[in-house]
């Protein structure tokens, strides 16, 4: 039910972002979505991409601090309040969301949710019938 996301530790200075992006480009990894949680000194660069396992080992081999985090990818209703509905399902169940971000994929709004309460989240998704995406939906 979860998909693999790359999490990369980068320093907040010029040259660090392009280095990671070029490594991915050279490895023919297709980026689908990304976001950066930044602080003054460093950032966690999160990427949804094709072949996350291969991407991770390519980056590791180049000495990058990278890891795979598993996250939920929920499809939102394409109307005002659609995002709120998705989050409400989680928050009503008392699930803490560590972080979230959203993007469009093939015209659909996708919300990425990271939580440590995996089992509870699975139940909510099932019981509420939330449409979700799997690993195969991101193959490019």
């Amino acid at each position: 039910m979860r998909i693999k996301q790359l999490s990369i530790f980068i320093e907040n200075q010029s040259g660090t972002l392009i280095r990671v992006l070029e490594l991915l480009g050279k490895a023919h990894i297709q980026m689908i979505a990304c976001t950066i949680a930044d602080t003054a000194e460093y950032g966690i660069f999160r990427i949804i991409c094709s072949e996350p396992d291969r991407a991770c080992s390519e980056l590791k081999a180049a000495g990058v601090a990278v890891t795979i985090s598993e996250v939920f990818a929920i499809e939102m209703n394409d109307r005002p309040g659609g995002a709120a509905d998705a989050v409400k399902a989680f928050s009503n169940a008392g699930i803490e969301i560590t972080y979230m971000y959203a993007f469009l994929l093939d015209g659909k709004g996708i919300m990425i949710i990271r939580t440590d309460e995996t089992e509870k989240a699975r139940e909510v998704i099932k019981s509420q019938g939330l449409p979700y995406l799997c690993e195969k939906d991101f193959i490019r």
Partner: protein, 436 residues
Amino acid sequence: MIWNPTKECMSREQMRELQGKRLHKIVEYVYHNVPFYRNKLQEMDLSPADIQTIDDIVKLPFTTKKDLRDNYPFGMQAAPQSEIIRIHASSGTTGNPTIVGYTRKDISIWSECMARSLTSFGVTRNDIFSVSYGYGLFTGGLGAHNGVETIGASVVPASTGNTEKHARLIRDLGITGIACTPSYALYLAETMDKLGITKDQIKLRVGAFGAEPWTENMRTEIQNRLGLKGFNIYGLSEIMGPSVSYECDEQHGSHINEDHFFPEIIDPVTLQPLEPGQTGELVFTTLTKEGMPVIRYRTRDLCSLLPGECPCGRTNVRMSAIQGRTDDMLIIRGINVFPSQVESVVLTMEEFAPVYMLIVDRVNNLDTLMVQVELRPDYFNATLDTPAAISELEKRFADKLRSVLSISAKVQIKAPGTIERSEGKSKHVIDKRVLY
């Protein structure tokens, strides 16, 4: 194994008697051959006849690094140039280098001390031994080299630099022993990882590590990564070079070759001798040196002499690990801080690579300390993928630092490979303070 049981296992009374005789002789020798010492002794109204036993050593004047610099290049040399067969020079980053000339007898004693050290580490004539201290003016390379030849092992004079080639030689030749700085050993381990050389492909079993301070945690890390047993070897070119002292199998302090180098521990401020077990500045008198003997040389290394007998059977006194340098000591907000203290904390945290940098600055008349560490790629995992988790890690490190240093430090976690590694003595401090 013990190379020279007569000297390494001598009774304490015999040792003190031998030291007393040798001290009298060396004082007489420098009095007649080094104007610097003759003048000093005359100023203090002392003559060689006043020095008869080893206890008389406290009457003698100290020698400092500055004295050696002021007498550059040959002012401290006692033997005539025709007797000198080798000249080394210590690094002169802050002034004149120190020039040390060795007679044939000096080199022979040095080789003997080095052979005692290597034998204590378990090296025999059946070993293939790589010397990866720098060869050249630095005493490490040639000093270790002579010792390996003395015991009859096969020496591979790898020196420093070209680490990739060296890593392949360790694998291909089945090298069993190595002498280098501990930081170079870690650099070598990193290089092997990069080349895909694994622990089971190499035969290293003994490491002789010295020329810079290191910690037990660093020892564990080197041993785990290279699959060898690591021993401390201590020395300094002003006294001889590596093998002034060496560890035994007990690894509880390093035995000093005190039939040649007499140790004292003094308070670096009052210059008064301290009791066994107390930490202070290490002072050495060379008892047999001909080329450049020194009397009560202040090493600026901080350590203690360990009281009691060693289960290994050696009776020569042991010194603790070096706990810092009197001149590496940073005074930050009035508190004495040693880079080695920071290192000991870094090495307790598996999330970090064993490298670090202290950056000291002064902002609005207040000293600031920042400690940079590097995230180790293997330990970056899904639980660390938020700024909150990283700052939690920073806080944990900062708390540990504060409890060891007694001052608070700002912590900065850096990406892998971004802190500079050095192949020689590691540089761990950037002091940006401009003081007027």
